[in-house]
């Protein structure tokens, strides 16, 4: 008999997925199921926190181009 489990399907680039895996590594409290290199299922309650953590990680690794001040 098949089973169903609740969660949030996350689709992203492999590079982003690598970061998510890294975030999950500490406590294993985000990921429900690792599906393939662009898809995974995470806990619904953790989505907001994961987004915050992800943007923190990205802010550390990426350089944003400066906004031109001319108007």
């Amino acid at each position: 008999m098949p089973r169903a489990s609740k969660g949030v399907l996350v689709e992203c680039d492999p590079s982003i997925k690598a970061i998510i895996l890294k975030i999950d590594q500490d406590n294993h409290d985000y990921i429900v199921e690792d599906l393939d290199d662009q898809t995974l299922v995470i806990k619904e309650t953790q989505l907001a926190r994961l987004k915050v953590r992800l943007s923190e990680e990205l802010a550390n690794t990426q350089q944003m181009p400066e906004e031109s001040g001319s108007d």
Binding site: S5, G7, E11, L54, L58, D71
Partner: protein, 462 residues
């Protein structure tokens, strides 16, 4: 079907069957549900079954629909069952058969053919002419109140909206906070992600969202949910511009009149007067016709000409409006630079879009807002908005939004490939499948009820 009725659906489906039973006792409720919430096929089923006293065998009903319409048929029947309008009965020795539930059927018959003393469509009141309120006055009142609510929500963006003269009652403020549309930090009111999505919706959807919040809050106020809901459906069947008597209302409903007045959904001269007028916000609740749509989101001077926004390929934006509400909404996703008496000028920047996205506004919402409010000069062009600007807004959103999240259910652990394929195909047909993997025998769906029901039926048939 519009988003507003979808919202009300979700809420209704969550109610227990006994609540439905009491709701459907009111002919106006039965008619409103029938009129507004059912797709055409479901309507046909209801009409066909309405005057048939004996249950209709499932196979007979299914024979009305062409084989290629199976998907629509399943959806219609599923919806009718979820709304407790249709039930399937099985008696020993007889095939499975459908009947309409009572009191829904009885109420709908009463609503369609008239009769009875249920008074559920409101009781018009006879009043002297000097008490009479014209339709433009009602529209103006509704617009002022509703813009007051919206203005309160976007007030936090830094523009002073205090001069529009609407003081929000503590009840409404509490409701907005309760519903998670705004948050208060100290004395400041801050709009939330849900609040932004709310602001950009069309008015009818906004009204429904607000009323559902009100319903969810009703029990805390010692109000009977069924009373509240059936009154809302009654309001939807009233006629604009006519006064209605308050004499036959329950205490809950009289209390509601006060609160609905705050939203501009109904108008009464004083809280103690013997009658009330429904406004356009009320009378369009359960119909498809446009409510205050253009008038609410555009200030009165703009309505005649259509939109007021001009946007150039260099991301500069000019908005011919003096409405503070409009300006505050624009401010959510543009950098406003100059304000003239009848116009504001600004620019869409990466920063302003990123800020909007981080607050929960999507690029599609922004684009659709700009399109609906485009200036007539812009409307002459095809496409209406410059393609570069549209693409760039989308790209700016993607930059910040690196993953696509879809809540739902993962199905796994199938015994055979056949089991997997059958269920997966069904999920795809009813349009809930988001992702599947043949190799892993797993798939992901947005809703599981219908899929689970299919699975149970399969198991029963062996």
């Amino acid at each position: 079907m519009s988003t507003s009725s979808l919202r009300s659906f979700e809420y209704l489906e969550g109610l227990p069957g006994t609540t439905f039973n009491r709701l459907y006792k009111q002919p106006s409720t039965a008619l409103a549900i029938f009129r507004r919430m059912l797709p055409h096929l479901a309507k046909s089923f209801v009409m066909a079954l309405l005057y048939i006293s004996r249950p209709m065998p499932v196979t007979d009903l299914e024979a009305w629909v062409r084989p290629d319409g199976r998907l629509e048929r399943d959806n219609a029947i599923d919806l009718l069952e979820r709304l407790h309008i249709l039930t399937a009965t099985t008696k020993p020795g007889k095939p499975r058969a459908y009947t309409l539930t009572n009191p829904f059927a009885a109420s709908l018959r009463l609503a369609l053919t008239g009769g009875g003393t249920h008074k559920s469509f409101g009781v018009p009141s006879n009043i002297s002419d000097d008490d009479h309120i014209t339709i433009p006055e009602l529209d103006e009142f509704a617009r002022r109140q509703w813009e007051g609510v919206l203005g309160y929500m976007v007030g936090s963006t830094g523009i002073d909206l205090a001069n529009n003269g609407v003081e929000l009652s503590p009840g409404v403020q509490h409701l907005l906070k309760q519903g998670g549309l705004v948050e208060t930090r100290g004395r400041r009111v801050e709009i939330t992600q849900d609040g932004f999505a709310f602001i950009l919706q069309e008015v009818n959807a906004q009204v429904w969202t607000m009323l559902i919040l009100y319903l969810q809050n009703a029990e805390a106020l010692n109000m009977d949910e069924v009373d509240v809901l059936s009154f809302l459906f009654t309001l939807g069947s009233l006629e604009l511009g006519l006064p209605y008597s308050k004499a036959n209302l329950t205490p809950t409903q009289s209390q509601m009149l006060l609160d609905l007045g705050d939203f501009g959904i109904i108008h009464q001269t004083t809280p103690t007067s013997s009658h009330f007028h429904p406004t356009r916000l009320a009378t369009t609740l359960t119909s498809d016709s446009n409510g205050l749509r253009s008038s609410s989101l555009a200030s009165s001077s703009d309505t005649t000409k259509g939109g007021f926004i001009v946007i150039e390929t260099n991301y500069r934006i000019y908005a011919y409006t003096s409405s503070t509400l409009q300006i505050a909404i624009l401010q959510l996703f543009t950098r406003l630079i100059t304000r003239y008496p009848n116009m504001v000028a600004g620019k869409i920047t990466r920063e302003s879009i990123r800020r909007a996205v981080s607050m929960g506004i999507t690029s599609d919402q922004i684009i659709s807002y700009l399109t609906t409010h485009a200036h007539p000069q812009m409307l002459k062009k095809q496409p209406i908005l410059p393609a570069t600007v549209v693409d760039q807004i989308r790209l700016w959103q993607l930059e910040g939004d690196r993953m696509k999240a879809t809540p739902g259910y993962l199905f796994k652990d199938f015994n055979t490939q056949g089991d997997f394929e059958g269920l997966c195909r069904y999920a795809e047909e009813i349009g809930v499948l988001v992702w599947k993997s043949e190799g892993q025998r797993k798939f992901f769906v947005t809703r599981h009820e219908q899929v689970a029901a299919y699975l149970r039926n399969q198991a029963r048939r062996g």
